[in-house]
């Protein structure tokens, strides 16, 4: 009965936290229960009759989980951490507050994944990708992969792994597990001409030789084969074929699954979102969703907050594209390129823990297509000057660059530079994105995330 007393106390904290307006009360109750009794997480998860689905990845976990929620929302009552609180304490909060849920849907931080998996005993685990990200916080890629490997090793043989076959390191984790669904992209027309500068995992996981890519799609994700030992991308169970990227509006593709093939219009730009859709579709299949439900869910999807989110500001709009590491930022750049680079950009770099304290990653992002096309760039955030150096050393004219560390002022300045009817692209790091949204909430342009319907 200890669980009951603790959970009531923790729920009370959640209400208090919301009442004083602190971050929607997202993690405070979870932090409390996580501190008092981490084992409560096991019990909270075990209460869910339809079990738990877990989603992790360096990039796209929030979007993948949101897609899955869209697909499963009509059939299940979800315990879903849609506020981005993806550490163990956030998971605990979510499970605490969703008292009438039957299915857990948890986006989980890469580092927190082993602990969360051990406690919530998921039915399905979706592993999307591993990119270099916040090395000061997560350490090296191999280190995260090792943690994931031990988590997968401890997983019940009855659980299903959904893995990205196009990521050599991630695909390799599933080797030897009984129930696996492998997803990937199968459309060489969309391959990049070469691996990007920041590509990771480009050496064979078995023998260390460089992989040869028949097609490289996003970062090091693609159709790889080791010329030396033959280690290659495994056959795909769920694939995207005949992909048609339609600028900033949508992507259309054939979703090929063991349950059949359907053409999907995903109302989100970018090949990386096709990967997210594949992860969501494969996970939904494991959770017994029908192909029609999957298509309906994906086609009615709207972006997770701060990830390609449009906000109207009078007669202008701002378009927010979160950037947080080289691979993700490269895809944001590619998306803007495909839709036509806006004349004015605000790019904001913070260096708090959630952003990564080490800002060197901005030099690994291929910002150059934006620099070639933009008329004016306003750099902002606590490390605005570092962005200014990144762009001026790349040859961007100093006269077209403005350094405005204060985000509020930077947004105002950016909007001032955009003609009526135009759109301002804003590329913030994580905490800068939260700040941009807070400014939008304060000005009555959007509702706070904790009030948004799932």
């Amino acid at each position: 009965m200890r669980l009951t007393a603790e959970t009531s106390a923790a729920r009370l904290v959640g209400r208090l936290s919301r009442a004083v307006g602190r971050g929607g009360g997202t993690t405070l109750p979870g932090k409390l229960i996580w501190k008092v009794d981490p084992g409560a997480l096991d019990a909270l998860a075990a209460r869910l009759p339809a079990g738990v689905a877990v989603v992790s990845a360096t990039n796209g976990k929030t979007t993948t989980a949101a897609m899955l929620a869209r697909i499963l929302g009509s059939r299940h009552r979800l315990a879903w951490n849609n506020s981005g609180a993806n550490l163990a304490s956030g998971v605990a909060s979510t499970l605490l507050s969703a008292t009438d849920a039957d299915l857990g849907l948890l986006e989980v931080d890469e580092f927190a994944l082993p602990e969360v998996m051990r406690r919530v005993r998921p039915r399905v685990v979706s592993l999307g990708n591993l990119f270099r990200d916040q090395l000061d916080r997560y350490g090296e890629l191999e280190h995260i992969a090792e943690r994931w490997r031990s988590a997968v090793g401890a997983l019940s043989p009855r659980s299903t792994l959904v893995v990205n076959a196009d990521d050599p390191l991630v695909a390799d984790l599933a080797e030897g597990h009984e129930h696996v669904l492998r997803f990937g992209v199968d459309d060489p027309r969309l391959a990049r001409p070469a691996l990007q500068h920041a590509a990771d995992s480009k050496y064979c996981v078995r023998c260390g030789s460089p992989y040869a890519y028949a097609a490289a799609y996003v970062g090091h994700l693609g159709d790889y084969r080791c010329p030396s030992c033959g280690h290659a991308r495994p056959p795909l169970d769920v694939a995207a074929r005949s992909i048609d990227l339609q600028g900033l509006d949508s992507s259309v593709f054939d979703l090929v699954t063991p349950a059949g093939t359907v053409r999907v219009t995903l109302p989100l730009p970018g090949l990386y979102n096709v990967y997210n859709a594949l992860a969501a579709a494969a996970s939904a299949l494991v959770l017994d969703a029908g192909l029609d439900e999957i298509v309906a869910g994906l086609q009615s999807f709207t972006a997770a907050f701060g990830r390609f989110e449009r906000i109207g500001v009078g007669d202008r709009r701002i378009l927010i594209l979160l950037i947080k590491n080289p691979a993700g930022a490269n895809e944001a750049v590619r998306t803007l390129e495909e839709g036509g680079v806006p004349g004015t950009l605000v790019i904001a770099l913070n260096d708090r823990i959630a952003d990564g304290r080490d800002v060197s990653w901005i030099w690994d992002v291929d910002f150059e297509p934006l620099l070639e096309a933009a008329d004016r760039i306003v750099v902002s955030g606590e490390r605005a000057a570092e962005l200014a150096l990144r762009f001026t050393y790349a040859g961007f004219p100093p006269a077209q660059l403005e350094v405005v560390p204060d985000l509020r002022e930077a947004l105002d300045r950016g909007l001032e530079l955009v003609p009526p009817g135009g759109e301002l692209a804003v590329l913030p790091t994580y905490t800068a994105m939260l700040a941009v949204r807070a400014i939008a909430v304060e000005r009555g342009l959007v509702r706070p995330y904790w009030e948004e319907a799932g």
Binding site: R132, L135, D136, G139, E140, L141, E142, H197, A198, K202, Y203, G208, P210, D351, R357, D358, V359, S360, W361, I362, W363, D364, E382, R383, A385, E386, A388, L389, R390, T392, Y393, A394, G395, P398, V403
Partner: protein
């Protein structure tokens, strides 16, 4: 003039935005009318280091470092000869470790290095992570404050009589104990500082460029640049080191 730069293992050692350091050298040279000619060198490629004015070695993840270490160690004699005749070197993080005599792993394993710097590195139990500020001594009475970010498990121990790049004002440095950071041997500089290092440390960038220019037969002085953004970035980074440098993590 043409300044010839050999960039060692750009495909393997590039974890901390090493191309930023090359971009800074390239542009600062161009602004003074000089051209940087950069040649990438991968394992197995022919390299005659004395034909270059500056050698650059960046940092990598453990796996990539282990993949290039034997190739680099085999070039030790050539590299030492080049450094003795005035070729400038910038080696960062993993590159810095690999240019020492070697790296002792936690399991006792020994990864031999190129032996350019008089030092050894021993794996530690914790990683030394955070913002750093140094008082760097570039010889001949030239000192400059250098700001950057460190993230390393290795503890680097300088031989007696070896010269550090600088004294740690905030952060961990070579081993978290000696108060020293990096190593300098003539025009060869090794350091744990990335961020990348050179954009916000223009005096160090120009010092390296001037040494490379001298080796190329040019003048050893460069006209100053305004560097307003550089100073702004340096000030923020130095402030970070003072307020939060030097935490440890398992």
């Amino acid at each position: 003039m043409n300044i010839r730069v050999a960039h060692l293992y750009p495909d393997y050692l590039n974890i901390y935005a090493d191309r930023g350091n090359i971009a800074v050298l390239t542009r600062r040279a161009a602004l003074r009318g000089h051209a940087l000619e950069v040649t990438g060198v991968e394992p197995g490629d022919v390299l005659r280091p004395e034909e270059f004015d500056l050698l650059y070695v960046g940092g990598g993840q453990d796996r990539e470092q282990a993949l290039v270490a034997p190739d680099l160690a085999a070039r030790g004699d050539d590299l030492r000869r080049a450094v003795d005749t005035g070729t400038a070197v910038l080696a960062v993080c993993g590159g810095y470790q690999l240019l020492g005599r070697g790296y002792r792993g936690r399991d006792g394993s020994w990864l031999p290095g190129a032996g350019v710097f008089p030092l050894e590195t021993v794996a530690g139990e914790t990683r030394l992570i955070g913002d750093v500020l140094l008082e760097a001594d570039l010889g001949d009475g030239v000192t400059t404050a250098v700001a950057g970010f460190e993230n390393h498990a290795g503890r680097t121990l300088l031989d007696a009589g070896a010269t550090a790049l600088g004294r740690v004002l905030a952060g961990h440095g070579n081993d978290g104990a000696s108060g020293l950071e990096g190593c300098r041997a003539g025009a060869a500089v090794g350091t744990y500082l990335h961020g990348p290092l050179l954009p916000r440390n223009p005096e160090l960038a120009d010092w390296l460029l001037a040494r490379a220019l001298e080796h190329a037969g040019g003048p050893g002085v460069l006209e100053p640049l305004p560097d307003e953004l550089e100073r702004l970035a340096h000030a923020v980074s130095a402030g970070r080191a003072r307020s939060r440098g030097g935490r440890r993590r398992r």
